[in-house]
């Protein structure tokens, strides 16, 4: 009896959690796949009996007022670029912090970490001016560079934690066998820290994909998927179905990544927050 009650309590809570988490996600999905008339008709059917992908076809067409297709492509390029830059520079820095002894290490590390704490508003205007002076406005680089700056500290902290868990003996063995430090990093440390690299990569990709304020300020002609969503909200008469479909397309890639790499993400969040 006690066991049955316990299971009942747990599954009731599960149902409540499913409702809390899925309600907005499902709402958006529903609004994107039912015809316009159904969305406005009452009573509203919460199951999409008359399923349509018209909204998706319309927003992905090149004649759509907001270039969703280009925006998805741009976001993918910027997020991938940021991930590559962060992993390259981050793993070097993380190795430096993890393995090598030098004075004032803690101070350097904390000043490094301060970056992802302060409000982005603090540096956006000068950043805009710097990018303009470098003639980088409306290029992929104008976003990849600042994103990398903001993600690097977190990436470094995650990777440092993983590098520290690689046994020193293995590394020493590689060094005595005549590997240089760089070869050791490349051949021994990185392969053994693969989960950390995956966690850092996913975290960076999602962070860059989701960033909104920076492209809002820094770019005008180059539309990211997040700023595309922002454009809908500044349009006077917005088609709810279009907005929902665009939002759903913007969410799918990050949700898929999250589902596939769940284990690494949770581990990465924990490492980063505990050590940070």
């Amino acid at each position: 009896m006690r066991r049955v009650l316990r299971l009942l309590a747990i599954y009731t809570s599960y149902a409540a959690i499913i409702v809390i988490i899925m309600f907005p996600i499902y709402t958006q999905f529903l609004a994107s796949v039912i015809p316009r008339v159904d969305l406005w008709s009452r009573p509203l059917s919460f199951i999409p009996w008359s399923f349509t992908i018209k909204n998706y076809i319309e927003i992905l067409s090149p004649t759509h007022e907001i270039p969703i297709r280009a925006a998805l492509f741009n976001s993918a390029v910027v997020a991938s670029g940021t991930t590559i830059v962060c992993l390259c520079l981050g793993s070097l820095a993380a190795y430096g912090f993890a393995r090598l002894r030098f004075s004032r290490k803690q101070l350097v590390l904390s000043s490094f970490l301060a970056v992802y704490m302060l409000p982005a508003m603090l540096f956006l205007i000068p950043l805009f001016i710097i990018m303009r002076e470098l003639h980088l406005l409306d290029t992929y680089a104008s976003l990849i560079i600042p994103y990398s700056v903001w993600m690097l500290p977190f990436v470094t902290v995650i990777l440092k934690a993983f590098f520290e868990s690689v046994p020193g003996d293995i590394e020493d063995a590689a060094l005595t066998d005549g590997c240089s430090r760089i070869q050791t990093i490349w051949r021994v440390i990185l392969p053994l820290s693969a989960p950390g690299l995956v966690a850092a990569a996913i975290y960076t990709f999602i962070g860059a994909w989701n960033e909104f304020l920076t492209p809002l300020v820094l770019t005008s002609r180059l539309v990211m998927i997040t700023t595309a969503l922002g454009l809908y909200t500044t349009t006077y008469q917005v088609e709810v179905g279009h907005l929902a479909a665009a939002g759903f397309l913007a969410t799918v890639p990050v949700i898929v990544l999250t589902i596939v790499f769940q284990k690494y993400i949770v581990k990465g969040i924990m490492e980063g927050s505990v050590k940070g």
Partner: protein
């Protein structure tokens, strides 16, 4: 300098150079800008001109009724997000801590809001709370709870509460997983020995689990306070601070001052005031953690 530290410097330099050039330098420029009046124009070096330095931007903020309003509203907003988010997350964490079939998939489900782009979170909840096609209105009226549709974003109080619910939703995964990790660190032996001593579920929670959780939770709350006071995307995607400044939060007002009204100097000063809160939260967290780890 030993060989090791030279190599360390070499490895860390690229990352540090990037951070110095595109983070510390801009932050410094903004600091000087906050002491210059109005739009400093295209010549960034003017920001450093000592002759025209003034405290007027900071003084102006004390008389800016919308800034003061946005300050209180940010606190209310963060209070709801953290309070409600914490209670919900604690509940979720306790449930997910129970051994049960389906737990793995539930953990995955709870993680999902973390990945949703904040601006999409805004537009999604905008659809939920939409006055005419809104799903919430439809659901409430079909359940017979309301007679006529509520225009959620027309009432300042309702709009602020509605938007804090939206942001709470996005904060749940991080808090729930964090508390769950804390729960899993509570020693099983202690719980069992309390059970043998005759403590019931509530007593075990109150006297064994809770004390072990507190250090984790305090750090978590100050961390979330930093993020909650800096919220922007959801507000921009829905009300942009309306109706009648009822959902104006500090970051939104800074954005408006800077990029709509082009008051670069004033915007910079306000950004530094917001940054001050961040630093206070972080210092409290740091103080608390260094004290509890001793």
């Amino acid at each position: 300098m030993t060989r090791d530290s030279r190599l360390a410097a070499l490895l860390i330099t690229p990352a540090m150079a990037l951070v110095a050039g595109l983070y510390f330098l801009p932050t410094l420029i903004t600091f000087f800008m906050s002491f210059q009046k109005g739009d400093i124009g295209p010549d960034i070096l003017k920001a450093f001109d000592p002759r025209s330095m003034t405290l007027s931007n900071y003084l102006r903020s004390f008389g800016d009724s919308i800034w003061i309003k946005s300050f209180y509203q940010t606190l209310i907003f963060a209070g709801i997000v953290i309070g409600l988010g914490f209670l919900t997350s604690l509940g979720i964490a306790i449930v997910l801590n129970e051994e049960c079939r389906g737990r793995t998939i539930m953990r995955l489900l709870v993680l999902l809001p973390w990945a949703v782009p904040p601006v999409v979170n805004g537009t999604t909840w905008g659809i939920v709370f939409h006055a005419s096609v809104g799903i919430l209105n439809a659901a409430l009226s079909q359940l017979g709870l309301i007679n006529r549709y509520i225009v959620w974003f027309a009432n300042p109080t309702l709009a602020l509460v509605a938007l804090s619910l939206a942001v709470t939703w996005r904060f749940i995964p991080y808090m729930a997983l964090f508390i769950l990790a804390g729960l899993q660190n509570v020693s099983k032996d202690q719980i069992e020995s309390a059970q043998i001593d005759g403590a019931n579920v509530l007593q075990r929670f109150r006297y064994v689990v809770l004390p072990a959780l507190v250090p984790v939770v305090v750090g978590l709350i100050f961390m979330q306070a930093v993020y909650a006071t800096g919220v922007f995307d959801e507000i921009y995607a829905t009300t942009k601070g309306d109706p009648s400044y009822g959902t104006m939060v500090m970051n939104m007002w800074i954005y408006k001052q800077t990029f709509d009204f082009l008051n670069f100097g004033y915007g910079a000063a306000l950004a530094y005031l917001l940054g001050l809160f961040t630093v206070i939260f972080l210092l409290v967290r740091h103080y608390y953690e260094s004290r509890s780890s001793r």
